[in-house]
């Protein structure tokens, strides 16, 4: 769960598209002591072409949840939403990237049964749970069918889409509520856009259910150095990179 000190240069060994997303796999042959846990993340930067030219940015590395880790390789799932993620999405096999991690505090073992809820690219952060936990209930929300393609990575997910093109038309929190209606003590694991996480948080609060929310925040360093990634919690500002990214839902008044 801790990281080797410093960044390391690793090679991209595979790249594939999963609907609207890009999965890249890098070779990172480290011992088990550096194996990432679910919900942890890495800081990534392409070695070449990281900024400048017509685009100017990126300058800083970008935080990325680890999708999967096995056989000396790590995989990441990316959504192109700006210059950094775009460059990472354009990586070709054979290119080198800078990598630091695994970083952050990931998901913790559940009390009772696990219900996993994720939206959009947030599915990357929870994917490992689907493999690690006994038999979690998984509900996923996407914009449309192109994004919902990522659901195929999971064993048996419930899917909701905004446009109804796949699964339930509506919000993933509706699937979550239905799942929780099933009863019994549960822990909710969630990652997704702020609006979705706030809905999950309020569902957990209303039902008195434990929730673990993987938050995002723009980061400069990823290892607690800059204090730039804070979010407001009941205990004051907390750094997403070292106090999170996974926070107890009860610690948050709101996800903004």
């Amino acid at each position: 769960m801790i990281a080797p000190f410093g960044r390391r240069s690793v090679g991209v060994v595979e790249r594939r598209e999963v609907g609207a997303y890009v999965v890249i796999v890098v070779a990172d042959p480290l011992g088990v002591e550096y194996a990432p846990g679910p919900g942890q993340f890495y800081m990534l930067a392409a070695r070449a072409g990281w900024g400048a030219g017509d685009g100017e940015r990126p300058f800083l590395p970008r935080a990325c949840s680890v999708l999967d880790a096995r056989d000396g390789s790590l995989s990441f799932m990316l959504e192109d939403i700006g210059p950094g993620t775009r460059r990472l999405c354009e990586l070709e096999v054979g290119e080198e990237i800078w990598l630091t991690g695994p970083l952050g505090v990931g998901f913790r073992a559940p009390a009772g049964r696990a219900v996993v809820a994720a939206g959009g690219i947030g599915v990357a952060a929870v994917f490992a749970l689907d493999r690690v936990l006994e038999r979690p209930a998984v509900v996923l929300g996407f914009r449309d069918a192109r994004h919902a393609a990522a659901a195929s990575l999971f064993r048996d997910p419930g899917v909701a889409t905004d446009d109804g093109s796949v699964g339930h038309q509506g919000l993933v929190t509706e699937l979550l509520e239905a799942e929780l209606d099933g009863g019994g003590e549960a822990t909710v694991y969630a990652c997704g856009p702020p609006g979705m996480l706030e809905a999950v948080r309020s569902v957990c609060a209303r039902r008195g259910v434990a929730g673990q929310l993987a938050l995002e925040s723009p980061m400069a360093c990823g290892f607690g150095a800059c204090y730039g990634c804070v979010v407001a919690t009941r205990d004051g500002y907390r750094r997403v990179c070292v106090d999170g990214p996974v926070f107890d839902a009860a610690l948050l008044d709101a996800v903004a």
Binding site: I2, A3, P4, F5, G6, R7, A45, G51, A52, E56, R57, P58, F59, L60, P61, W98, T100, L103, S217, P218, M219, A220, C221, F223, G224, A225, C226, Y227, G228, C229, V230, V231, A232, G236, Y237, R239, V242
Partner: protein
């Protein structure tokens, strides 16, 4: 070994205040951090008398070859620092330099006085230059006020006093001269340049603190000019910083007149940057010698 204000350091590279939380880094990287600690001395983030929450987010804005921060000096306050941070910082195995800031000269004196009794604090650095907080700007930009501050603090703290100058001034050398005359043992520069990012959606200032401080390679050439300007006017040693990313940059700061260089933003891109830069600097020096 390098001598700096009576401290014996393993090399010439230290960290910039507020850019490396060694305690958080140890949680992330374990004891490997201690075994290969990247800096020859550790500079704490700015400590104030009382605790501070810092500025509301967003606190970061990325720029071409740099970044703006509007962190706002969050810290546990003096008591929290002494009780919870300092003991663990002393395990790093390098001299600890504590950076402090007051909102008045008396607050600076109070901070210095409290740290005087802590043998673990090898030196103090006075942050009179933080552009995120009104006082920082004002005291450091006026040579007379700066002189008065240093004169007040100097007798209170028995070990080296470093003055971190503000770069947001017409004549940084005048401030350095005032600091030296008032008894400073060294000066450090540059702090971040006052800067702003605009939210592309809506045209509002992006940062929670509205203004912030620019750091990284973008400011390196400005930093070199300020170091050179200061070096021409004072005798006490200089800690040069601002965009140092490679040994080459560190060598440039030494050429401009610095005795030590500090690394800030580059540590965000490469947590072990300090060690790499020290190594690269050694290579450059030995090439020049050879």
């Amino acid at each position: 070994m390098v001598e700096f204000c009576g401290l014996r350091l393993a090399h010439r590279v230290i960290n910039g205040s507020g850019t490396f939380d060694a305690l958080a880094a140890r949680r992330c990287f374990g004891d490997e951090l201690i075994r290969s600690f990247p800096f020859a001395a550790f500079v704490s983030k700015t400590i104030t008398l009382g605790p501070r929450e810092g500025n509301p987010p967003p606190r970061l804005w990325e720029t071409p070859a740099g970044m703006i921060n509007s962190i706002g000096l969050p810290n546990r306050g003096l008591a929290g620092y002494l009780e919870r941070d300092l003991p663990e910082l002393m395990e790093l195995g390098v001299p600890v330099i504590t950076n402090v800031m007051g909102s008045t000269i008396e607050e600076f004196a109070e901070l210095a006085g409290a740290l005087a009794g802590e043998p673990g604090v090898a030196a103090i650095e006075l942050n009179v230059s933080c552009p995120n907080v009104r006082t920082g700007l004002d005291i450091g930009a006026d040579p007379r006020e700066l002189g008065a501050l240093v004169e007040r603090v100097r007798p209170v703290f028995p070990r080296p006093v470093i003055v971190k100058l503000t770069p947001n001034t017409a004549d940084v050398a005048a401030a350095a001269v005032a600091a030296e005359a008032a008894g400073a043992d060294a000066v450090s520069l540059i702090n971040t340049l006052r800067a702003m990012g605009i939210d592309p959606r809506g045209g509002r200032p992006w940062l929670g603190g509205r203004f912030g401080g620019l750091s990284g390679p973008a400011i390196r050439a400005v930093a070199l000019a300020q170091v050179a300007a200061v070096a021409g006017r004072i005798e006490i040693p200089i800690v040069g910083m601002g965009g140092v990313s490679r040994g080459r940059d560190a060598a440039d700061f030494l050429a401009a007149g610095a005795t030590l260089v500090a690394v800030g933003t580059e540590s965000f891109r490469d947590p072990a940057a300090g060690a790499r830069i020290a190594r690269e600097l050694t290579e450059i020096s030995s090439q020049n010698a050879g």
